[in-house]
Amino acid sequence: MPVIDVARWDLERLVGRMLEDEEVEKYLPMLKCEIEELSETIISYEATHDRPDLFSAEGLARALKGLLEIEVGIRKYRVGEDRVKLYATGPSYRPYIVGAIVKGLDLDDESVKQLMNLQEKLHMTYCRNRRKASIGLYDLDKITPPFRYIHVDPDSVRFTPLEETREMSLREILEKTEKGRLYAHLIKNYETYPLLVDSNDVVLSMPPIINSEDTKVTEDTRRVFIDVTGIDLDSIIDILNIITTSTAERGKEAVINLVEVQYGENVVVVPKLDPSKMVFEPSILDKLVGIKLRADEIISLLRKMRLDADISGDKINVWIPPYRVDILHPVDIAEDIAMAYGYENIGYEVLPPTGAGKISPIERFSKKIRDLMIGLQFQEVANYMMNNPKTLVEAMRLENVKVVEVENPKMEKYTALRNWLLPELLEVLSYNKHLGYPLRIFEIGDVAIVDEKEDVGVRIERHLCAVVQSENTTLTDIMVYAKALFESFGLKYEVVEVTHPSFIEGRSGKLIVHGEEIGLIGEVHPEVITAFGLEAPIAAMEVNLNSFLRMLLD
């Protein structure tokens, strides 16, 4: 989740007074912000994904003013009369644009930095790394409305991209600038590229890649034009609301001017600054959170969280500001109330069990088998379920065996799920070669077997695998343990000869109980032994414990 750095003096300037360390330590967690660093100059905190309005000093200050009771209830922004027109004729793969104007700003180095950071954090998170949406801010004094969102041939227009000193074609920008290379994949496969221009065809930006150097916002900027382009109209309006209201915090006389976006015949007026209403039933607090509060207490807590509320019969109308995109359902309001109330004040209550606990049969049975194997003097080991086909299949001399494989492995060693346990036990033997013989180890664990009958295309089985290794191990050395295992449960079993590539011919068999195959037993093939870098003979058995348990219960 994003980590936000704010200058303490800047935050204090926005809040309107000095902040004690204790206040920061108390109130930031109430906004789900985790403090990473708190010093005289810097406050660094991790904000949660659902609260993009807290991704900069302006939004944090707005919320803190509520908790500190400096200013409660919905923050109201002044809206100017004038509207600007924006013609949306962008490319079909990124058709949407919205915009806003904020005037009366009083910017300095720090506030420009914060606005740029907010833009960047939103890009990384809510805008899904610009795929879903991208934001641009421009000095309105350097451009002339109305604006046009168009799409053009990559070689037909040239402008000077941000941080550059010369004009480049759109195609060049994708190839030669850092941002261009970073985000080229979003547009480069299309014939035309998006472009935002003013009434004089001055380029504002090439969304979602880069802005123009000539229109950028500086400390001297007093009026800005903001645009958000993207693939989903509702999302970009949310983002516009956040960035516009945060920007408007940077001027005592700040005024927001609305923009009329023309989509063919349709006009969308943005940003949407009116609070939205959600009906809240106070009983939800008692039922969901476990606290009982009076309506007036609820209202005052909500106002501290910078929402507004009024009583309507036995319900409460809650008014939500446009930047609070996290509130989807009354439960989100309940959480706001709980946070303002203070989690530590909720108390806790231990609910006695409503019924008897149960451990799953296969886990309980595994524990029994584990005890038995320890009694037979085997050491238990535990391996990862993840491995690779080379170890699971090739090294075992198997062919045409499909294992579950992942598309995006992180390490060469771990690309698949094991379909049996034996290969990993051989790896363990290999690791412990220096210990000398005999070695007796076992593992009880889950394996994944491709099975089209299952919804998930895979069947999970619980297996037991036991191996014995010494200089003179033969099949008999594992047969005795198979016998001990089955006879301990009073199960009659048979070993039926089988040819299996991993074992020596004539020294391997299927373990059969009640006519059903429930495992394999054999002397490991010398080629397999060598493939794992081992020398001494190995005998092994692998048993399906799900089947084993079923046999016992039948």
């Binding site: 008692d286 989807l328 989690y343 019924g355 050491q379 238990e380 535990a382 790896e427 210990l435």
Partner: protein, 509 residues
């Protein structure tokens, strides 16, 4: 009473010495060194058969001069013999030719002085002359001979009364040295036991053979006493894997708290891992950095189309849950994409889908997968402990209560709580415990499942408190492991030498 042979011989010697003997003398008599018998003596004393008495005493040591006199006689003896022959000698002759008379240096003067004191001679007009009668001379000679014999016996002897050898001390022939002396004393009871034949010598045996036991001959032997301070060789037991053993114990705690274990597949539909959890299809957790997608098999299937539809609508517009939804076009195909489950919450989803409303609580302790590079702090596969408490009267307050209770049962102390964020719970909480080394660490994330999660699954009336616990961190603390890879160590020596995991609180009641 049976005594090891040597100890029996010791007693016999002490008895022979009338019940009291110096330890050195005793050792000499046994033909052993004192140090060899000290252990036996200590054992005999512990059996109350002897008393070891330590005393400090003075011992006589003869000087070089004394040794010379013992060999050659005292100077006065020698001079007396000459005078018996010659009756009279000029002092000057004697002094000048002392060596001719068998005397060296000062010995002339010593001899004269002592003979005068013994009234054997007189010195007059520069001559020394025998004065005593023949009988008297004989007595003096005998006296001196006796004096010399006694001197020869003094070497290394204990001097209890120094006044008895005053003369030797005065002449500087004997020097006294302080020493500690050990006396071995047999009390009368021991003497009596010995006389009555109640003490018997016997063999000392280390390994008791079956024959000794069967024949009853063990009665005639002495069992060699073992030194319990000597460390025996190390044997490591064949053991359960410590992590697996710990997980079993944790399951038992949950069983006692009334939780039923639930199971689900490690390969999962995105539907259960994400969509049912109201995680939007473009949620960052659903990207390749955070989720393993399957290359083979790639797609799963799901028969309950109506559930798919409900989940889809909830994502799109909130369906009937009262939510605004995520307002995007939900793709049913994406929900059937196969992944390695990233959270066992998928298992909770399956359970709630199956059981719906009601009063129940379930847990899952199983493996989940995330695309991580295996290093001391990260693993691509780890255990997650997950649980749900379902019921009409279940609230967030009960979830907080569960945290406190469970932390207490695991011996983790008090849980500190803070607001948290998870896409599928509201309110959400993060519980921290105080780790002795790491400080406050987050181990208890949880919250109340959102209506957007519950309604499509068929839950209409119940609330569900849900929690997930990073059990690896807790396990590492209990097992004393600091590298996460050691939880799955292939090193058999490491596994067999690990301490047995103990959740202390289970054993205190």
């Amino acid at each position: 009473m049976l005594l090891p042979e040597r100890q029996y011989r010791i007693i016999a010697e002490v008895v022979k010495s009338k019940g009291r003997v110096n330890v050195e003398v005793l050792a000499e008599k046994l033909g052993l060194k004192t140090s060899d018998i000290m252990r036996d003596l200590a054992e005999l004393q512990s059996k109350n058969l002897i008393i070891i008495e330590k005393k400090s005493a003075q011992k006589a040591h003869l000087t070089e001069e004394a040794h010379r006199y013992i060999d050659r006689g005292f100077p006065e003896e020698r001079l007396l013999r000459i005078l018996i022959e010659r009756k009279e000698i000029n002092l000057s002759t004697l002094r000048e030719n002392a060596e001719d008379f068998g005397l060296i240096g000062e010995e002339v003067q010593i001899a004269i002085q002592h003979l005068i004191r013994l009234r054997a001679v007189e010195v007059r007009e520069g001559k020394i002359r025998l004065k005593a009668s023949r009988e008297e001379v004989e007595i003096i000679s005998e006296k001196l001979k006796e004096f010399r014999r006694k001197l020869s016996e003094l070497e290394d002897s204990v001097v209890e009364d120094p006044s008895l050898i005053r003369e030797y001390l005065r002449r500087g022939l004997v020097k006294l040295k302080k020493r500690s002396l050990i006396w071995i004393i047999a009390p009368s009871a021991t003497l009596e036991m010995y006389e009555r034949g109640e003490l018997k010598p016997a063999k000392v045996v280390t390994v008791v053979s079956p024959e000794l036991i069967a024949t009853g001959k063990w009665r005639e032997i002495i069992f060699k006493k073992f030194d319990l301070k000597v460390e025996p060789p190390t044997v490591h037991p064949y053991r359960k894997h410590p992590y697996m053993e710990l997980l079993d114990e944790i399951k038992e705690i949950l069983e006692v708290m009334g939780f039923e274990e639930m199971k689900g597949p490690h390969v999962e539909l995105e539907l259960w891992n994400f969509d049912a959890l109201f995680q939007a299809q473009d949620h960052p957790a659903r990207e390749i950095h955070d989720t393993f997608f399957l290359k083979y098999p790639k797609w799963g299937k799901f028969a309950d189309k109506s559930l798919m539809e409900k989940i889809g609508k909830t994502h799109e517009n909130g369906w009937i849950t009262g939510s605004k939804g995520w307002r995007y076009k939900w793709d049913p195909k994406r929900a059937l994409r196969l992944i390695l489950r990233t959270q066992t919450t998928a298992v909770s989803m399956r359970t709630i889908y199956e059981r719906g409303d009601g009063e129940y609580r379930c847990f899952s302790l199983d493996r989940v997968f995330r695309p991580e590079t295996l290093d001391p702090k990260h693993a691509m596969e780890f255990y997650q402990l997950e649980g749900i408490i379902v019921g009409e009267k279940v609230t967030f307050k009960h979830l907080l209560g569960f945290f406190q209770e469970f932390a207490k049962k695991l011996g983790l102390g008090k849980v500190k709580i803070k607001p948290g964020y998870f896409p599928f719970t509201e309110p959400s909480v993060e519980g921290f415990i105080k780790h002795p080394e790491l400080g406050w660490i987050e181990v208890f994330p949880g919250g109340m499942f959102r209506p957007e999660v519950l309604r499509p699954l068929g839950v209409k009336k119940s609330n569900v408190a849900a929690w997930g616990i990073g059990i690896d961190r807790i396990a590492m603390a209990i097992l004393g492991i600091s590298d996460i890879r050691d939880l799955f160590s292939p090193d058999l020596e490491f596994l067999r030498s690990r301490k047995v995991p103990i959740i202390e609180s289970i054993y205190r009641w």
